[in-house]
Amino acid sequence: MPTVDLAATELRALNQALHELSDGTNESRWEIVNPRGSHAVAVGVNAPVEIDIRGSLGYYCAGMNRRAKITVHGSVGPGVAENMMSGEVVVKGDASQYAGATGQGGLLVIEGNASSRCGISMKGIDIVVRGNIGHMSAFMAQAGHLVVCGNAGDALGDSIYEAKLFVRGSVKSLGADCIEKPMRPEHIEVVAKLLDRAGITDIKAQEFRRYGSARKLYNFNIDHADAYG
């Protein structure tokens, strides 16, 4: 198992080594120590490997991840797992702004809190947050699921498209065109699966409420034809 000490190794060398991994590699488990808040750690990995990062990180950790399972034993700065394609990213601590932004696939789990703009413009990623999320989360969210075990801040789901939001606690306010919708059996099933994948066993899927698009903002409506001029 390769261990990379970022106090002694250049970030570029680490990321290059991770980019060179291919299917069937024997180096399938990596440990990264002493990140000391570094930016862009383990960005662009495209191999089915497991990477454990011991410590807290700065901007853009695990961005564009494909297939790797990346676990951060600490907190992360802005933009964790930005544009993730597949795989899994787990943050044991908190996440700063725009966690999982534009993510197209895979699972992002934040065991602490996420701050503002969590899941902004998400396009298919699944995000599970054990704690709370900040304001403007899921802004213009297009697809995927955002499951929040705690509370959501102001303007949740503003201008949302078809992403599905599930919040267990309070929602400070809903953004434009975001409404509460009934939890049907298929939604309980989706949340239960995501909680299970996130390793959360003490919270029930039935405790969540669902939010999503009222579909009034972006859908063409013949009665409004004049306004589109």
């Binding site: 000391r36 808040g37 700065g58 907190s75 700065g77 908190d94 700063s96 702004q97 701050s115």
Partner: protein, 297 residues
């Protein structure tokens, strides 16, 4: 983009290390603001006296300043020169007269700050170089605030660097940009405030000073600024005995706080905090938007 660091010491045993810790924090933020840097350090309490920090483009012009100013005031004053800055120590009662004399007779000198405890140093240049020129690492004190600047709203000059001090023992640093500073500056000028630059941050500092002059606490002044300042900001402010943090409601500009029994620390990024004692055991969190944080002693 700019970088901010701040350290407020709770455990007096750590005070001799303030400068060293702050210099380490500042050095991590060079790439957020490589064009200029500055810092304010709140040193030991010397009751009854005042410190005036002055800046001269040519340090040779400090020669004989202490004697000449002392003669004019009819009293002795002490002067400590650090590169382009000098700190003048004098009786509190003479501070206003000294400021007036400096303004009238020494047009080449710029007053950076006045107070019982504050000393302010700032210059154009790479932040680690600026910190070395002033010997930040050897300074001690109860709290300090540093800034690395990437200018957006006004020119890269010494006076455009942060911190800005517009009231006794007060200072402010800023990451962001204000959009209503011209109008506010006009209003504050009507109220009697004077300005050294076209910089937006100076307006924010003057605004807070004006609010505190009208009787508000720093906390209340910061609260009021949420209604009156328009734009993006993360502010860190220092007063004689306190240290405050405020982010605008949108909170795009990054901020991390850490607290232990020994200190409260602020960094634009977590990188700025990793060299602090027992950081792994600290409570680390991102300050909430539109929420005033304040620590005092």
């Amino acid at each position: 983009m700019c970088g901010i660091v701040g350290l407020f010491i709770k455990d007096k045993a750590l005070e001799p290390q303030l400068g060293k810790l702050l210099a380490g924090m500042l050095a991590t933020m060079c790439d957020r603001g490589p064009d200029s840097a500055g810092f304010a350090v709140y040193g030991s309490d010397e009751s009854g006296s005042r410190k005036i920090t002055v800046q001269s483009p040519d340090p040779a012009l400090f020669s004989g300043l202490d004697a000449a100013l002392g003669d004019a005031l009819g009293a002795k004053l002490q002067m400590t020169v650090r590169d382009t800055h000098a700190v003048l120590r004098l009786e509190a009662a003479q501070a206003d007269q000294a400021k007036q004399l400096l303004r009238e007779n020494y047009p080449h000198l710029r007053v950076m700050g006045v107070g019982e405890r504050i000393e302010i140093y700032k210059e154009v240049g790479y932040p680690t170089g600026v910190a070395e020129r002033f010997g930040l690492a050897s300074m001690s004190g109860s709290h300090g605030i540093g800034h690395t600047r990437m200018a957006t709203e006004s020119a890269v000059t010494t006076m455009g660097a942060h911190p800005f001090s517009t009231g006794s023992d007060q200072c402010l640093v800023h990451n962001g940009s204000l959009s209503n500073h011209n109008n506010l500056r006009r209003e504050l000028k009507h109220g009697g405030m004077t300005f050294e630059t076209e910089n937006d941050t100076e307006v924010a500092a003057a605004y807070l000073t004006a609010q505190m002059d009208s009787g508000l606490s720093l906390g209340d002044a910061l609260q009021k600024s949420l209604d009156d300042l328009d734009g993006f900001y993360t502010f860190v402010v220092g007063t004689r005995d306190g240290f405050g943090v405020l982010r605008d409601p949108i909170a795009c500009k990054p901020a991390v706080l850490a607290e232990t029994d020994q200190y409260v620390a602020f960094g634009s990024e977590y990188r700025a905090l990793v060299g602090l004692p027992d950081i792994d055991g600290a409570k680390v969190w991102e300050p909430e938007p539109a929420t005033v944080y304040f620590w005092g002693r």
